[in-house]
Amino acid sequence: MAEGNYTAGNNTYKVGSKIYACRLGLVEYEGRNVQVVALNTVYIPSPGDQVIGKIEDVNFNGWIVDINSPYKAILRANEALNKPFRQQKDDLTSFLDIGDLILAKVIAFDRTIDPILTIREPGLGKITQGQIVKVSPAKIPRIIGRKASMINMLKRETECKITVGQNGIILISGPSPENERLAILAIEKIAQEAHTSGLTDRIAEMIRREKGVKL
């Protein structure tokens, strides 16, 4: 891919002075840095990420959460409740039960431990309304767009509240099912055509056209 005085960025590796891509994707050169924007990946948690997960199991002191990643996440009771947790008195299933969806934040993860989540921050917690769309986590930066241009356009055009989880799960809640359907359609189109250029304009046009037909 490149040879000489370059540094290997994301999804690349260096042998001697040569840089090779280790994933299928689009190459970006920025100064001396070479990186590959992958077209498909799994979600690898990283502290600070906002994710959407599903409660899979309830333990005596917390929950096991599926966050669409090879690693199961742990949500401890003291990261979920606003008061001190008493094992004898508090029934965890009354807060979150199996199958519930939560919006959470990753607070710790590395190679040796499973990701640990928290919902003790404003805006986080159990999801009570809206629709869920799943895309490849590699497409998330494209859905957000440069300086959030894509996501802001989507919110404006569809009048929906869109919450993006870094793990490829997106929550959409809008004033009507029709608006939500439109947002889902747009997101699926973005994921499908993520590697093409001029996407924001094309999506905006598509939404307007769809709205014109419906209204």
Binding site: L24, L39, T112
Partner: protein, 247 residues
Amino acid sequence: MSGKIRLIDENGLRVDGRRPNELRPIKIEVGVLSNADGSAYIEQGKSKILAAVYGPREVHPRHLALPDRALLRCRYHMAPFSVEERKSPAPSRREIELSKVIREALEPAIFLEKFPRTSIDVFIEVLQADGGTRCAGTTVAALALADAGIPMRDLVVACAAGKVDGVLVLDLNDLEDKEGEADLPVAYMPNLDMISLLQMDGQLTIEEFEQALNLAIEGCKQIYKLQKEALKAKYLAIKEEVETCLQ
């Protein structure tokens, strides 16, 4: 042994009309299964193989997980209808061995250490067998891995060379494999110039072995180009569709 059947005719052509150093026609498609994380399909002559990759995902059973890297599991399986006489669907001795050699051929190409405590599962299903299935299986499994977005040092590509009727030939089919004198499957990573699988069945002199190995590597390089094209084709098709829509 090969007295009854002539594998090379008077013009120097093989049973299916190929020249000695010619590959069979190859058709590759990537992303054919929507339920798998990555998938690919290959038709190499009359051999037809489907590969699916799942993962990196949680390991079941749990105790198999490795603390420092991902566990690569591979299943090579021949469909009961893939050969002339119905094959029992239970894994045979041969299939278990091929699963192992394919796994070991793919292992050095994958950055397994990036996903500790997970597993990457590769399923190779032979739908129709006409020789060279371990090679085509390796080629197509590497594509399915790349399609699944698993970081790899290089694509692995495999091709066999061998000797039939005293002539060194490339990419043997079933008849040549069974009736010929020798078969030499090679899996190769062209960018790194490394061999990850080398088996030999039959007898070759040292000079013949070296020539056959070089022939197989040349074959691998040809397939490698097709592999890369197939990988890009999945995304180029969408791009072209978009561009024609715009015009």
